[in-house]
């Protein structure tokens, strides 16, 4: 979330699309009802299903699963065509005036540089025109057809309301009504917030859906303001934190990235990351990358990390490609992975195409499952009848199942969607012999380290030198680890203006990432978390909920990264001359007397840079402004374009009916063997989408009796038309088949799923909730991911769980 949960109450308009906040985040959704109650806010829900969110919406419109770019592109077209945008905002805070390279182009669904063989783009032309001064060339008149504004307008001119209706099936009048409501939020004193979740991410073009919505928000001037923003409702309690800490194939803590094979030179590695400003006077905060990196290396490898060895740069593994979960299961399926460790993750149920995942797991030599609960993954080798029909004797995998504690049995911090690091306290001991995750990781690691110490082995240095300064080595305490990632001075830190003045003594906790150094004198395990445990103590444990400005900014509750800032890009809530766009909901403002930015939030800006300096509000971008034109950052192009889901009822992309390459995302990775696993609309005519129910959390709460009572048995939802056609009545048992397998479940026949008119034909949607499996207290069911395709978003490799094809029949 760029903003945070409570801030939603400041919105005038709420768009829930690509998510179902009422269903999946009810306690956060409370702030929608608050906005409605106290600001008279309106709620719009756009979803293939009439969801629980829709049940309390002012306006609901259906669309076909996987067509959100078409819908939002239509909104962009409406806003630009009718000139309903925040001019002052877009002109000053976005790349509207920037000139795009002349050789960049877009032709019948493909951008320049496409290599059909590799299914990827050479992105050299995807850039700004750079002038002789090293800065981007701009056209403040916005007249040049190569300026971003003109190119954007031209690109989305094709997304007419008629085209939206054709692709999405959304009735034109509903679409225009929603456009009109959204356009209202272009007023400087109005804010729309966008709440989305996996309804956008889980598509082969999910990242671009989110980008399209972000572009709408930029046009309206709604990024960085109270009640606005792009608010990703993260699915799990600490998936934000684990992502922040870089627990992904290619990441280091704080969104630093691991080097690729080609980056053999440390300075070159820094050079491509510590970017110089692209416009005069810009902060380009990533210029500090070296400080963050060195401090992390010092935290990890201590005295072994020196300037001479480039802070152990080569101790880090280098990437030849990304090893996301889909790639790893592909490799496992190919037989090149021998071991797998699942720490509180249940991939057999969570990953796409169960048959492939189960087959892959069976090829492992060993599998370690660390979990408080008996998960499906830990029993993938066990025969559970129709739900997991395998032969244990044929599976040669050694499996370990290690009991861990649950939330109530440990101390520690979690990062919520609003980036708040919140500390929690242990209430009871774990059952029987269960151990904390830290103790389990320590147990495994220290045993390995001892083996390397005794017997040597492949490249033991990083293992032997990993810092391990814990009072109880076999159980590192959460407090010690939190202090480590928050950051410590390794040497006395002196005032740059007065070297005699010691600001922090060696061994003291840092106040924040501004104090990090690239000379090895500071250690910080995760720069964006820096300051969460300072000399003032554990700020994550703060519990002062005072809200002095009355707009939900509780700065003394817990700690928000970065730097306890609650709303990102908050400089953009002010006009270029430093006054709030909406004086009733000020976040920060330029305080001339104090010579600083002050207000209800920590400025996301150089706190003392006066407006006249012209520094842009998007300080992490070298341009200082937000980008409509994504440069080379996205796999499938600088402007989002609608592509059909890999399994679509349409034979062609209505925008590019004659270009087969532009039917589905041209840059999405498809493994060789998986092309055959896509089904056709002839065989599988219904659009299927999978989702959560509010009564359950993933594959987890089915183990809790109270929640098993609420939704005891697997079901699928279908509209009345389709039910009539198939002779299915509510309560009947039905089989839902995809090319990859089938599930059997109870039918819920509902008015809430409408038949859509797509490109002149009727398209039915089948909804499949995900929560059942063959373990737990609820009735056993089929793993929903038996049905889903093994293809992901081109940028994030998030699987396409939200739109694929099935056939449904009565059993």
């Amino acid at each position: 979330m760029t903003n945070h949960w409570v801030d939603i109450k400041n919105a005038d308009l709420i768009l829930i699309m690509g998510g179902n906040a009422a269903e999946a985040h009810p306690c956060g959704f409370k702030w929608v009802t608050e906005a409605k109650a106290h600001r008279g806010a309106k709620l719009i829900v756009v979803d293939p299903r009439f969801t629980r969110s829709a049940s309390v919406a002012d306006v609901y419109a259906p669309l076909r699963a996987g067509t959100d770019i078409a819908f939002l592109g239509g909104v962009i077209n409406y806003l630009l065509a009718n000139d309903r945008i925040n001019h002052e905002y877009v002109k000053n805070y976005t790349d509207f005036t920037f000139m795009v390279k002349d050789d960049f182009g877009f032709d019948d669904g493909l951008f320049t540089g496409y290599d059909a063989e590799k299914r990827s783009y050479a992105k050299t032309s995807w850039g700004y025109q750079i002038g002789p001064d090293g800065y981007v060339v701009t056209d403040p008149t916005l007249a040049n057809p190569r300026c971003v504004y003109r190119m954007l307008k031209a690109h989305y001119a094709r997304y007419t309301p008629e085209m939206v209706a054709t692709i999405c099936g959304t009735p034109k009048e509903d679409f225009l009504k929603i456009c009109g409501m959204i356009a209202e939020a272009a007023a400087p004193d109005k804010a729309m917030t966008v709440m989305y979740a996996l309804g956008w991410t889980q598509h082969s073009q999910g990242s671009q859906m989110i980008r399209t919505a972000a572009m709408v928000q930029l046009l309206l001037g709604n990024i960085g303001v109270a009640g606005g923003g792009m608010n990703a409702l993260r699915g799990h309690s600490n998936i934000q934190g684990l992502t922040d800490l870089g627990l992904l194939s290619n990441l280091l803590p704080g969104y630093m990235t691991l080097p690729g094979d080609g980056e053999q030179d440390y300075q070159a590695y820094l050079g491509t990351r510590a970017l110089k400003p692209l416009r005069p006077g810009q902060l380009s905060y990533w210029q500090n990358y070296g400080k963050f990196f060195v401090s992390t290396m010092k935290a990890w490898f201590g005295d072994a990390a020196t300037a001479e060895n480039n802070w152990c740069y080569h101790w880090l593994p280098k990437l030849d490609k990304g090893y996301d979960i889909l790639q790893v299961f592909e490799n496992m399926h190919q037989g090149t992975v021998n071991g797998y460790i699942c720490q509180g993750f249940n991939p057999l149920a969570s990953a796409p195409c169960k048959v492939k995942v189960a087959g892959a797991l069976a090829r492992l030599k060993y599998l370690v499952v660390i979990d408080p609960l008996a998960t499906e993954t830990s029993e993938f080798w066990q025969n559970h009848g129709e739900y997991n029909d395998v032969d244990p004797t044929a599976i040669q995998t050694e499996v370990f199942r290690l009991p861990s504690t649950c939330f109530a049995e440990e101390d520690g911090s979690l990062v919520n969607s609003g980036r708040w690091l919140q500390w929690h306290w242990k209430a009871a001991d774990p059952p029987a012999e269960a151990k904390s995750d830290q103790a389990i990781m320590a147990g495994i690691f220290l045993t390995i380290r001892e083996l390397y110490r005794k017997n040597g082995g492949a490249f033991p240095e990083p293992i032997l030198n990993l810092t391990w300064k814990h009072r109880q080595p076999e159980e590192p305490s959460p407090e010690e680890l939190a202090r480590e990632f928050s950051g410590t001075a390794l040497k006395d830190q002196t005032d740059p203006k007065d070297p005699a003045k010691v600001l922090l003594k060696a061994g003291q906790q840092l106040n924040g990432f501004a104090e990090l150094k690239d000379d090895g004198s500071t250690a910080c395990g995760c720069w964006i978390f820096s300051g969460c445990w300072s000399e003032k103590g554990n700020l994550m444990a703060r519990r002062d909920n005072a809200d002095p400005y009355g707009i939900g900014q509780t700065l003394n509750w817990a700690f928000a990264w970065p730097a306890n800032r609650r709303i990102l890009y908050n400089r953009a809530s002010c006009t270029p001359d430093g006054k709030p766009f909406d004086p009733k909901r000020p976040l920060i403002a330029w305080n001339g007397a104090a010579g600083a930015w002050t207000g209800s939030d920590i400025p996301d800006y150089s706190a003392v840079s006066p407006p006249a300096n012209g520094m842009g509000p998007f300080i992490m971008n070298p341009e200082g402004v937000a980008r409509f034109f994504a440069l080379d950052k996205m796999a499938e192009g600088p402007f989002p374009e609608h592509y059909e889901p890999f399994e679509s009822p349409l034979a062609a992309n209505p925008l590019h009916p004659n270009n087969g390459k532009a039917r589905a995302n041209p840059a999405a990775r498809v493994f060789k063997g998986d092309w055959a696993s896509f089904g056709s609309a002839e065989e599988f005519p219904q659009v299927c989408t999978t989702y959560r129910l509010t009564e359950h959390f993933h594959f987890w709460t089915k183990h809790a009796i109270l929640d098993a009572i609420l939704q005891p048995e697997q079901f699928v939802e279908l509209g009345e038309d389709l039910a009539r056609k198939k002779g299915i009545r509510a309560g009947d048992s039905v089989r839902v088949r995809s090319k990859r397998g089938f599930i059997v479940a109870v039918a819920v026949v509902t008015k809430r799923i409408r038949t859509l008119e797509i490109a002149g034909r009727k398209v039915h949607t089948v909804g499949v909730p995900i929560h059942w499996g063959f373990m737990g207290m609820a009735k056993n069911g089929y793993i929903t991911n038996t049905l889903t395709p093994f293809v992901g978003d081109a940028n994030t490799q998030t699987p396409e769980f939200k739109s694929f094809l099935v056939a449904i029949e009565k059993v």
Partner: protein, 195 residues
């Protein structure tokens, strides 16, 4: 039977009083009409955070006893933390049912091992688990560690063993896991951000 009007009224009066005697006079003893005893009066309260979605709702966990030496804490009730700025004491159905997650019959109690081809679990000790897992990992790492790629570039990666990090473990666990995974050279490393 000679009952004149006067007699009739007399009879009626007698009947009413008789009826009253029978019915009102023997009003039953008052049973105690007391509400159920409040069950948290002396329970121990601990602040926590909901482990499910990312709203990060504050929780109050109530456990039996006062944490004295002879009374191991047993969690008896969980409700929302009214001080929490986001949830303000509310919870969703999952959070409301956390008690049954803590006490799920499917909680794991001991390290277990399943041998190749076996149809069942066997209970093992933590030491056995750590020793065997460490040996398997080291064996695989030593055999498949890639110090240099085909081009002779230093890459120092280990991709034949993968790691899936959780979605609900703490930052402290995540940080420790990140450190350990990278020190081993792991790249087949992912979390539950996507699914």
């Amino acid at each position: 039977m000679h009952i004149n009007r006067r007699q009739f009224f007399k009879v009626c009066a007698a009947t009413v009083s008789g009826s009253s005697l029978a019915t009102l006079g023997f009003s039953p003893a008052n049973a105690l009409a007391e509400v159920r005893e409040f069950k948290l009066t002396r329970a121990t309260e601990t602040r926590n955070t909901c482990p499910y979605c990312s709203v990060g709702c504050g929780l109050l966990i109530y456990s039996l006893g006062d944490n004295s030496k002879n009374a191991p804490a047993e969690i008896i009730h969980i409700e929302g933390d009214p001080d929490h700025p986001v949830n303000r004491g509310t919870l969703c159905p999952k959070g409301a049912g956390l008690l049954d997650f803590v006490h799920s019959p499917n909680r794991l109690n001991y390290p277990e091992y399943r041998a190749p081809g076996s149809k069942e679990w066997q209970r093992i000790t933590w030491n056995e688990a750590f020793s065997r897992i460490a040996a398997l990992m080291k064996e695989d790492r030593d055999a498949h560690f890639i110090a240099q790629n085909d081009k002779g570039q230093t890459v120092n990666r280990w991709i034949s063993t993968g790691f899936l990090a959780a979605s609900a473990s703490s930052n402290e666990t995540g940080y420790l896991t990140q450190k350990i995974a990278r020190s081993l050279g792991m790249l087949a490393f992912d979390n539950q951000a996507r699914v």
